[in-house]
Subunit: 414 residues, 2 copies
């Protein structure tokens, strides 16, 4: 039944030439293609963050708040934009949906509708030139190069977002995106620290700007690092990879090989011991009755892919091994012939009706010269398989190297 | 060609009932069977060592000497008795052979001839009742229980030691074993510390007795622990196992699954990163010109076993997976039939000439309801394989769960 399961050979994956081979642009063409809004946001925030770190000292309370708000807005993206809205891997009650949309906006990565549209196209056209952040265009491009250039809508793959268009809160966030993003990106974190413990500057520079820069790059790693480093336990036809390092940097989105195979599973880390705080958050909210209908692929389906990959690895390893001359292609040797050759001093031995020439091996025989000599000129199958010694699997493999002929006994011959 | 390689099914492995099921002995019978020399050595030395540790303080120099002499005598066993004499895995110049016999004797584990005879029987009859320290008789027995009882020569398997009988230094050590063992076990370590830095008591208790106890149990672990904990990367028909923990405790003899498959390989740790100081010592001596003809099994032979084990694991995993109804056992469905059923509202879809009933899956389809509906009542093979979306390997696996019939098109039908 296994052979009924072909390893998918997707036909919509196109060859994308490496960046260096693509037609070059003039400087002015290049400048025209830059998305100045994105580029200035992405390039100035790190500078402001460094300036803040040098001029404002970090208090303990602000540190904790920055850390918390880093997770709140980061998971706004991973738990909200990604697992809930792009992949509908679970269902959420209204308050949670609104909170995820608000804090997700605080990560300043575009509206949920826009983000999910691109993300679905990324899944549908992974690694092709219709993928908005194809890993085949390089690490830098998939990380945030793609954000700093204008998108060519005619090139990017289409994806279906009917469900999001029909969701009034998603549309509300989309229409009012700029003020919401500005408020939750900068104002809210500053207000909390300012009203809370009178650290307005710390709130702005640390919980606001520095936190924003780290959330940006954490989540960008899902598109870059997660397609570059790690293992491919479920499928190695495409670039997504599983890596604990990426997982730690991305609130648990580092099991990306799993995720591209099972995108509507609310988990990214399939293993209980994998680092996936986004999964834990969803599970916790389920226990609190805030979300429901968590979607998982069955163990059976998940293991299928894992087993096929292992099988594939074993098959590949088998190719590089020399298994000895195939039995079918060995010449025949009659009993008379065998006896005559042995009399002339040939060091032949028969195991499993195959004539082995052990000349070179006698002195190396791990069981000693005298034992192997007992078998010379004879059918030593029984000695070899237990009468004298039940040889290891390794020894059973080794004999194939000495094959020279198929033995034809007198009985058979007549 | 792989199928020509049968996994060995050794025929000389006999069933050994667990100790608890064997016929019980009376106390006086039991006492008669005790090997009092061994038992008193093995049971009193730890007591003496503890007494010494409580009454004599350990100096820094004696500590270093104890550590060194622990390795010298321990490796006298592993590098000498075991890898050189029992398995002839390399050749050594006379000075090295003599040193190994002397320091090996300092581990007080019997003469090299006696030790190797039992060890070869252990390899030949692993896990059977002819194995002098069969792991099937339990951890305690294989560790040192077997040493504390009289050996029944009629029961222990025979092994060939012609080569050792012909080696005059091995025979010299065998004949003069008791004085040599006493000298190198207790006198020599005491003399070094006494004459060297005037610590006679420390030399005796630490480098002598405590060192002896630790060397004993380190090397005994090769027969016990190495048959109980770890992995079986090369063969799982027998008890030997690979474990880094055992390796650390036994001067590198912890890769015991490898060792039982490739006993005449001078290495136990096949991997460069494995912990095997005995291997390193042999390699170092080779560089110094003191030993030569280091024997190894080829990478090809070693990988064969490894690949077969992985293959076996994959096959076992495959057994527990549900791969969907076998195509051969599906009923046939004609095109007319298919069309009629679809008209009545059945949610059928054709992929690879198989009719799938996706009723339960439509709402769960990760690509959205509208896409999968495009395929209903049609042959969706091309849509599924790339025209609309090149589905993952996971999706290709999943469809087998929905199989209900083999599709017979009109063309074929006529
Ligand atoms: C082409 C023929 C042979 C090959 C390739 C071969 C290979 C080996 C190998 C690799 C071992 C190491 C232990 C193991 O892997 O199980 C071994 C051990 C042994 N062999 Fe053979 N052998 C051959 C023929 C024979 C014959 C014909 C006999 C007996 C009549 C024999 C008797 C033994 C014994 C007794 C041992 C165990 C020695 C020990 O572990 O101390 N072998 N042989
Ligand atoms: C029994 C039939 C089908 C099954 C089991 C199935 C299963 C899946 C699965 C598991 C995915 C997740 C991504 C992946 O694994 O590659 C997926 C995505 C998708 N499917 Fe299907 N599918 C089926 C039929 C169809 C059909 C007929 C179409 C189109 C006409 C379609 C269009 C899509 C699209 C466009 C996606 C990508 C959505 C995204 O990743 O955002 N599927 N499908
Ligand atoms: Fe991805
Ligand atoms: Fe995703
Ligand atoms: Fe062993
Ligand atoms: Fe051994």
């Amino acid at each position: 039944p296994f052979d009924n399961q072909p390893i998918a050979k997707p036909t919509n994956r196109r060859y994308v030439p490496p960046t260096s081979q693509r037609k070059s642009r003039t400087v002015s063409e290049f400048l025209k293609e830059i998305n100045w809004l994105h580029a200035s946001l992405l390039l100035t925030t790190p500078v402001i963050a460094v300036y803040g770190m040098m001029s404002v000292s970090l208090t303990w309370k602000t540190f904790v708040w920055t850390f918390i708000y880093y997770h709140m807005t980061g998971m706004g993206i991973t738990v909200g934009y990604h697992r809930l809205y792009s992949h509908r891997s679970y269902k959420a009650t209204l308050p949670i949906r609104i909170l995820l949309l608000l804090f997700g906006a605080g990560a300043i990565e575009g509206s949920c509708r826009w983000w999910s549209r691109d993300h679905r196209a990324h899944h549908r056209y992974t690694d092709t030139d219709k993928d908005p952040y194809s890993a085949h265009s390089g690490f830098f491009w998939s990380h945030f190069g793609w954000l700093m250039m204008k998108q060519d809508p005619s090139k990017i793959g289409r994806s279906n977002i009917e469900d999001l268009n029909a969701d009034k809160w998603v549309m509300w966030q989309h229409r009012n995106y700029l003020p919401i993003a500005f408020f939750f990106g900068f104002v809210f974190p500053t207000l909390v620290a300012g009203l809370g413990w009178d650290d307005w500057m710390g709130g702005y520079f640390y919980a606001g700007v520095l936190r924003l820069v780290t959330v940006h790059h954490s989540t960008f790693f899902v598109n870059s690092l997660a397609h570059f480093i790690g293992d491919t336990p479920y499928d190695d036809n495409h670039s997504p990879k599983d890596s604990i390092i990426t997982a730690i940097l991305t609130f648990g989105e580092g099991y990306h090989n799993f995720h591209h195979e099972f995108p509507t599973d609310y988990r990214n880390a399939y293993s209980t011991f994998g680092y996936d705080p986004s999964k834990w958050a969803i599970k916790l909210m389920e226990l609190l009755g805030l979300v429901y209908d968590l979607n998982t692929f069955s163990k059976n389906e998940i293991q299928k892919g894992m087993i096929q990959m292992r099988q594939k690895n074993v098959e590949q390893l088998k190719q590089v091994i020399h298994w000895g001359t195939a039995i079918e292609s060995l010449p025949e040797m009659t009993e008379e012939d065998f006896d005559a050759q042995c009399k002339q001093g040939k060091k032949y031995i028969i195991i499993d009706s195959i004539v082995l020439d052990v000349e070179t091996f006698i002195d190396e025989h791990p069981g000693g010269v005298s034992y192997i000599k007992m078998g010379l000129g004879k059918d030593a199958t029984k000695m070899f398989r237990g009468e004298v010694y039940g040889h290891s699997n390794a020894a059973n493999n080794l004999i194939s190297q000495f094959r020279i002929a198929r033995f034809i006994s007198k009985e058979k011959n007549n």
